[in-house]
Symmetry: C2
Subunit: 418 residues, 2 copies
């Protein structure tokens, strides 16, 4: 590309406590390379912003506002749950994307998301070859589920893991205090539809003397074994904590709690496994229970973000721009772990074709033989990821989070119906 091209950046899928730190990394790095990259346009609500030509001009934001993204949770430009069909199935959308890219001189496409979004980014990366439009598509990894392949971990996960570990520790101290005459079992439901990485983080409290049972999506739920385990722990310790993944399911694939609704990708909307498990315990063992469902609180909890996670989110955003400048297409920057203790890693690179639509589950040797806990190997993996605190500033008792101006770029094209 001889002419200096603009960049498109968008956020996709469930947002996290640190996805804006990646946005910060992308935009700050692009601003430092104004000789190579023109403006960064952000998609309003992810890829939808590209299709509808709703672009946000990030050059209208001050350096201070962009810097503040580093400590602001959520998706500053809006996210979306929207999966592009294949080129064969819906050529109209790809043609439109190229029109928008052309109209706004966009040559770089940075997509910040998880597995489904990596697929979208991969499809965009093929536009060059398949439709003759020169674009470099770089995927910036982001998912609290930690289920992207190749990269050692995914930005967003370390902070959720820290939140779940801290919350499990605190709530377990609480139930321990109450157990003599009141609550004996505390059940915490956490995210993780197919992969148990988030639930695993609850297991980190075991080294603090907390009796904990983890229910992973990777392990088929066995009610009898589970109740026996809870019963044993309550007899031994007087109480126990259960961390149940929303994706926990019976051998026939039925989730412990389905809400009966599906999202735009056709996934079942889950929630409510905790009360199911709690009532199961009450009915079988008679123990008084309390249960919590962390839901958005866990992935939005920037106030207790992992410093390691924030740093990596930024670095991967930065690296994405550097890879684009170096001429790469269809790649994703990765975290490549070098050692656990001391924790060392470098930022590497993966081909998007190897990333899209591949889910990384908990390895079996990260889960104890009985299926209810995590192994020392898993603890060695998790511990560095929750290291360090990265507190936001506070004013009047509340964190200072930025809301950007999000100034629209003037449209040049006719309206496009989604």
């Amino acid at each position: 590309m001889a002419k200096k091209m603009n960049a498109f950046y968008a956020q996709s899928g469930g947002v996290t406590a640190v996805i804006n730190a990646s946005a910060c990394g992308v935009i700050e790095t692009a601003r430092r390379h104004k000789d190579k990259i023109g403006k960064v346009y952000a998609g309003r609500n992810g890829i939808i912003g590209a299709l509808t030509e709703e672009l946000i001009d990030t050059t209208k934001e001050t350096d201070a506002a962009i810097a503040a993204l580093r400590s602001t949770p959520s998706g500053a430009f809006g996210s979306c749950r929207f999966k592009l069909k294949s080129l064969e199935a819906n050529k109209r959308e790809y043609t439109r994307l190229i029109e928008v890219f052309k109209a706004h001189n966009i040559g770089y496409f940075f997509y910040n998301g998880g597995g489904d979004s990596a697929d979208t980014c991969f499809k965009i990366s093929q536009l060059s070859e398949q439709m003759g439009y020169p674009i470099q598509a770089i995927h910036v990894p982001k998912t609290v589920d930690n289920d992207l392949p190749i990269t050692d971990c995914c930005p967003g996960f370390g902070s959720v893991a820290k939140y779940i570990a801290v919350s499990t520790l605190e709530a377990s101290y609480d139930v321990r205090s109450m157990a003599k005459t009141s609550t004996k079992v505390f059940v915490l439901e956490v995210m993780g539809r197919h992969a148990g990485w988030i639930a695993a983080a609850g297991g980190l409290v075991e080294d603090h003397g907390i009796p904990v049972v983890i229910l992973f999506p990777e392990i088929e739920f066995d009610q009898k074994k589970f109740l026996a385990r809870v019963n044993k722990l309550v007899k031994e310790h007087g109480y126990c904590t259960v961390v149940v993944s929303e994706g926990c399911h019976y051998p026939d694939g039925t989730f412990l709690a389905e809400q009966g609704t599906r999202d735009a990708f056709g996934h079942a909307q889950l929630g409510g496994a905790a009360p199911v498990v709690a009532n199961m315990i009450k009915d079988a063992l008679g123990h008084k229970f309390h249960w919590a469902v962390a839901d958005y609180l866990q992935r939005a909890a920037r106030h207790i973000a992992s410093k390691t996670d924030v740093k990596q989110a930024y670095e991967l955003g930065k690296k994405a721009v550097e890879l684009a400048i170096a001429g790469h297409n269809s790649v994703m920057p990765t975290v490549d772990r070098i050692s656990d203790v001391p924790y060392k890693y470098k930022i590497g690179m993966a081909d998007l074709k190897d990333v899209a639509n591949v889910e990384k589950f908990m390895p079996r040797d990260f889960i104890t033989r009985d299926g209810f806990g995590i192994t020392p190997k898993c603890k060695r993996y998790l511990t560095p990821l929750i290291q360090g605190e990265d507190y936001p500033k506070y004013q009047d008792g509340l964190p200072v989070y930025v809301t950007l101006k999000n100034v629209a770029v003037a449209k040049k094209l006719p309206t496009f119906k989604l």
Copy 2:
């Protein structure tokens, strides 16, 4: 009392992020007055420890361990849900208490709890007059529900309020990001059986531009009005957040969600109002939702405790000992607010007879006319209480919380059956 007497300290009812800060205040202050007060014995699991003669010798704990209580959530000595009957109804328990107090030379009784516990403490304070045993009973206020009368606020509340305000802000940023193609309504269920103080804290995010609907236990639930309000906010903002108190109920007194079980005090065990509200919105308005139930996470969240709250919890524990030394009986130290801005208060004192069994609800002028929000007056009340952060130390990514040795005092009496 000519002879130097020992003190009994116990924790009662639901524990909080800062009840141990009060314990720290009691024990450190008693240690500074060894000329006046002998040992501090803690009840293992509240008043039950006094009845069963399960006393913990706090002199076996180092100064460092006691100091660490200040930043440790939960009840370090165990709490209980156990209400003494009246002297007439169960003289046997009072006779036993006096035997235990006599056997261990206990002349001071510090009880750290909420409304039900204030009643227990009041009954103990009458032992002197009614049964001729000289004891000074001082109540140390503690309740996340913030529903004790006379005192301006209750230790434990400020930290829950901060947690709820921060979490509501963070989750609202999240749903705002997702609203275009996915979640439009986020529902957070918070504690508060009869009083809406905790729910009110969610209203503090309104000044950050968040459209929020609060459902208070003080306001009878009107489904039609509620849905109209949610509908209006989603139309205007694209999304909204609902903070629902567990005590929210219909005009006939039925809670939005009862679990059908009751605690030791005969209170219905609540939980599950959030999914009820979320599904109500889905059915009537069709909006995709997410819901969370904070449960123990909110009251145990020492990691995001309010500095003001921690300070007051300590000061009230300290003052309780000072009141005892000054010869008081049947009293409770209080927070007396002097001004909102700048926030000033002094530590005062209330008679227990005016505290026991009185619940302080949200004043009507703290709630907006439509019943779904908080007024500027309420914001002025709440804002100082969530001021300041008081972070615990961290090691390996998790907070460093203390677990005491809790060495038992040798028993001198026959076993007592509860």
